[in-house]
């Protein structure tokens, strides 16, 4: 800064710029604090489970999805055989199973409402 002392106008401008910048930074910081404080940490949020490695997490989520689809497809196929409504049972229950699988994944990832906790 000392090297710029001979150019007062430029120096002043730069000082003003820096003041404006720091004021903006402060405002932004305050706004961020407000946003943070308006969303207190949700105590009902599911505790992070023992997913220490990303691979374990991926395996867990994928089995949840696949399990839903398999159960839906299996039930649809059985209904088709018992009621003779092929292929409608399979089609409908495959889609419903996919939905159930997505619900499983969202629950496992903590995005959907978990089933109720220990408090009644």
């Amino acid at each position: 800064m000392a090297g710029d002392a001979h150019d007062d106008g430029k120096h002043g401008n730069r000082l003003a710029d820096e003041a404006a910048l720091s004021a903006r930074l402060q405002r932004l910081g305050q706004q961020l604090d407000q946003v943070k404080s308006s969303k207190p940490p949700d105590p009902a949020a599911p505790r992070p489970q023992a997913d220490t490695s990303a691979m374990a997490r991926g395996l867990r989520l994928s089995t949840e999805l696949v399990a839903g689809v398999i159960v839906g497809a299996g039930i649809g196929w059985l209904l088709d055989r018992w009621l003779g409504i092929s292929p409608w049972g399979f089609i409908v229950f495959l889609l419903l199973g996919f939905t159930a699988g997505l619900l499983n994944v969202m629950r496992a990832a903590g995005l959907a409402q978990q089933r109720q906790g220990p408090k009644q």
Binding site: A50, R60, T63, L96, G97, A100, L103, R107, P118, Q120
Partner: protein, 250 residues
């Protein structure tokens, strides 16, 4: 045979035990290592705590740690009332943990690499939840399938989806343990196989075998982590499902 990564999962009949109908039931290597897991667990829990010292020995504190881990998990997840299921949950945890860790020793057999075993364990939990849930809550148990605050016209679809989600639990519960153990052991065998294959090539091969050897050691450590972690994950999920049996309302 050494290069066949699937061979380690083969069931071998040791000697016939009894017959059910026309089916001969054999004592197999799977049964042997199940017995080993149960024996080691019993030796640890009964033997190590028989001294009942105030300042525990190493084995005693290991037994106490496993007890407290499972008891705390069950209490925090499903409440104080769930402690009546503590024997079931501790048995599941110790059986899976000990059989997984024993299976990491070369020339042993990992019980959880057969889906029939993990499925039997998961179905035990599944039917415990259903039977105890209906016995304790009656019709109230079926509120599990009806999320609260749902408009009436959506209820039929959502009940079916929740029912499918409930029925898919034993599948994801069992497949997760089974797939983790199976994949880990196949990877370990494949990478270890490279060491033998490269070592038989010559001097350059021996030098090249250093990398897979280091990877095998790293993978063994990872597999130890996975073995313990999957036993714990199976236990946590058991606790979450038991919680539904005790508190079915949404």
């Amino acid at each position: 045979m050494a290069a066949d990564p699937i061979h380690q999962f083969e069931i071998q009949n040791y000697f016939p035990v009894f017959k059910i109908g026309a089916t001969q039931i054999h004592f197999t290597n799977s049964a042997l290592f199940m017995a080993v897991a149960v024996g080691l667990t019993a030796a640890l829990l009964i033997g190590a705590t028989s001294g009942r010292r105030l300042v525990p020995t190493r084995l005693q504190s290991l037994a106490e740690m496993s007890y407290e881990l499972v008891a705390n998990t069950l209490r925090n997840t499903a409440g104080e009332e769930a402690m009546r299921f503590f024997p079931l949950v501790l048995s599941l945890f110790m059986f899976i943990l000990v059989s997984n860790v024993v299976g990491l020793i070369p020339y042993t057999f990992t019980v959880a690499t057969h889906i029939i075993i993990t499925a039997a364990l998961a179905l035990t939990v599944f039917f415990t939840v259903i039977i105890y849930g209906i016995w304790r809550n009656g019709w109230h148990f079926f509120k599990l399938f009806l999320p609260s605050g749902i408009p009436g016209w959506m209820a039929p679809i959502l009940i079916v989806i929740e029912l499918l989600s409930f029925l898919s639990r034993p599948i994801s519960h069992s497949v997760r343990l089974f797939a983790n153990m199976l994949a880990g052991h196949i990877t370990l065998k494949l990478v270890a196989g490279f060491v033998v294959m490269m070592g038989s090539v010559g001097a350059l091969g021996v030098f090249g075998a250093i990398a897979p050897l280091a990877l095998t050691i790293a993978l063994t450590a990872l597999e130890l982590l996975v073995a313990v972690l999957q036993a714990y994950v199976f236990t946590i999920l058991t606790c979450i499902y038991l919680n539904d049996a005790i508190h079915p309302g949404h």
